[in-house]
């Protein structure tokens, strides 16, 4: 019971301790707020710019969720295709890996050529950067169906489709939800990159403008807002994972 309480408290203690250390270090060493503002300064800035930050954060959230939603739909679909066909899997893998290796910030200018500055580039950047882990995980889950299980069903006259939908897809769900946690973080990175380079709103855009104007506290305040949003979105996907695939998390390791 004691260790359980300690475990529940540990994240809070560590987080608060981190900021306290930061504050103390800034004051003790007299670090200029231009180099590294103290948490109290940042917090004040967050309060001061709250309306602006809130407006831009909501926009970023919306871009991220839209890109992430596209990635989930497309990732599931492509993952199912790749998982059920060894030919398509082998054939398209180099293309996929090659595409995934391109830093997405390099793709943003092309998106701007195509769609202009606005909401489309951030959404598409978020989508492009985050669909890959979903595809790979869903495909792996489906492709690793036990051969015995496949034999049992095939001997009953099951079609490839039956096997994919009755066994492959449910089996891939833990992989899928695991990949969502990676994908949501990536989508977030993508939307901020998109906003920085090709949007007039959003935290990314706010960051670009604030840093150009040397408004250091605002830059830091925007970063803090980004971090908090990121944690919230991650927590939501982690919660979805736990509630959807409880059967896969019965090991002592996950407890």
């Amino acid at each position: 019971m004691r260790t359980k309480n300690q475990l529940a408290l540990a994240p809070w203690i560590f987080t608060i301790g981190f900021f306290v250390l930061w504050e103390v270090a800034c004051r003790a060493l007299g670090i200029s707020s231009f180099i590294l503002p103290a948490p109290s300064t940042i917090l004040l800035a967050v309060w001061e710019y709250r309306i602006q930050l809130g407006y831009h954060a909501l926009h970023t959230l919306w871009m991220t969720v839209a890109g992430f939603g596209l990635a989930v739909a497309f990732g599931l679909l492509l993952g199912m295709v790749l998982g059920s066909s060894r030919l398509i899997n082998a054939g398209s893998y180099p293309l996929l890996v090659g595409f995934n290796s391109i830093p997405k910030v390099a793709v943003v200018p092309i998106l701007v050529f195509w769609f202009g500055v606005g909401w489309v580039p951030p959404v598409l950047t978020a989508f492009l950067i985050s669909f890959f882990p979903i595809v790979v995980n869903v495909a792996t889950g489906i492709a690793t169906v036990e051969p015995e299980m496949e034999d049992v069903l095939r001997a009953l006259g099951a079609s490839k489709r039956d096997i994919v939908f009755k066994v492959g897809v449910p089996r891939a769900m833990p992989y899928f939800f695991g990949s969502l946690k990676v994908a949501i973080t990536l989508a977030y990175v993508g939307s901020v990159i998109g906003e920085q380079n090709a949007s007039n709103v959003g935290i990314g855009n706010l960051l670009t403008r604030a840093s150009a104007a040397f408004e250091v506290p605002l830059v830091w305040a925007a970063l803090v807002v980004l971090a908090v949003l990121g944690v919230v979105m991650y927590a939501i996907t982690a919660y979805a994972e736990r509630s959807m695939t409880g059967w896969a998390q019965r090991s002592q390791m996950a407890a």
Binding site: V152, L156, W247
Partner: protein, 263 residues
């Protein structure tokens, strides 16, 4: 009696076999309807290949395979299978696992939704027969290995297959559980009148359960000996301690030893 499963002069080479050595060669095997046949042999002798050939999961390079009077050109659809690994789906309850074949096989597939209660009752009946009464709501991972294997037998039988294929189904169990399941299998065979092909390493298991035992040679596999088992049914576990039973097991062991030496 006409043969129910009829493999004639079958040779099979797996496409992915690197050395090109056939898994089975000139294999001929006839099993009658309702018969309990056991196939024993040294490991790697192509027993599992034989199962795949008889269910239409693989097609022979040479020779013919007939099941129920028809040449096998696609998965046979009238077979149930159970393996050493129970392969239960962990996201389904045991009962839903057992009902899985009905979601595939016609005519059940079309009428499962509307007649769910009837099928559930049938599954519960099977669970009772294998000694798992009232355990259907549990998830497979809440069951012991032996219980999962019992559930796997129920899944193999739920659609009333005419042919039941068992690939070392009791291989991973302790000897007490195994003997218990022998009796379950014996009673299921007596009750369901299904044709059973049991592939096993365990000679006592084959001798206790089967009407006829086929010994296979080492790879490339073919049948080197065929032995009727005359013990009257229903058989009691006690017969496994009789001198006749020991003699039979000893004789089978001789065939396997010879097959291993020849390899």
């Amino acid at each position: 009696m006409k043969p129910f499963v009829d493999l004639h002069d079958v040779t099979h080479v797996y496409a992915r076999a690197e050395d090109g050595v056939p898994a089975v060669k000139n294999l001929t095997l006839r099993i009658h309807e309702g018969e309990f046949a056991a196939i024993v042999g040294p490991s790697g002798c192509g027993k599992s290949t034989l199962m795949k050939l008889a269910t239409g999961l693989q097609f022979p390079r040479e020779g013919t395979v007939f099941v129920d009077g028809r040449q096998v050109e696609a998965p046979v659809k009238l077979a149930g299978m159970a393996f050493q690994n129970p392969t239960m789906l962990p996201w389904r309850t045991t009962l839903d696992n057992i009902l899985l074949p009905l979601e595939i096989v016609e005519p059940h597939r079309g009428r499962l939704r509307r007649n769910k209660a009837e099928y559930v009752a049938k599954a519960e009946g099977l669970l009772e027969q294998v000694g798992l009464k009232g355990q259907g709501h549990k998830y497979p991972w809440q069951l012991s290995g032996g219980m999962q294997q019992r559930a796997s037998l129920c899944r193999a039988l739920i659609h009333e297959p005419k042919l039941l294929m068992l690939d070392e189904p009791f291989g991973a169990l302790d000897s007490f559980t195994r003997e218990e399941l022998w009796c379950v299998m014996r009673d299921l065979h007596a009750a369901q009148k299904v044709t059973i092909i049991l592939v096993t390493h365990d000679l006592r298991e084959a001798a206790f359960l089967a009407d006829r035992i086929f010994c296979m040679s080492a790879r490339p596999g073919r049948i080197v000996a065929e032995r009727e088992v005359a013990f009257p049914r229903p058989r009691d576990l006690e017969i496994t301690y009789s001198p006749e039973f020991s003699a039979l097991v000893h004789e089978l062991r001789g065939h396997i030893a010879q097959a291993r030496r020849a390899a």
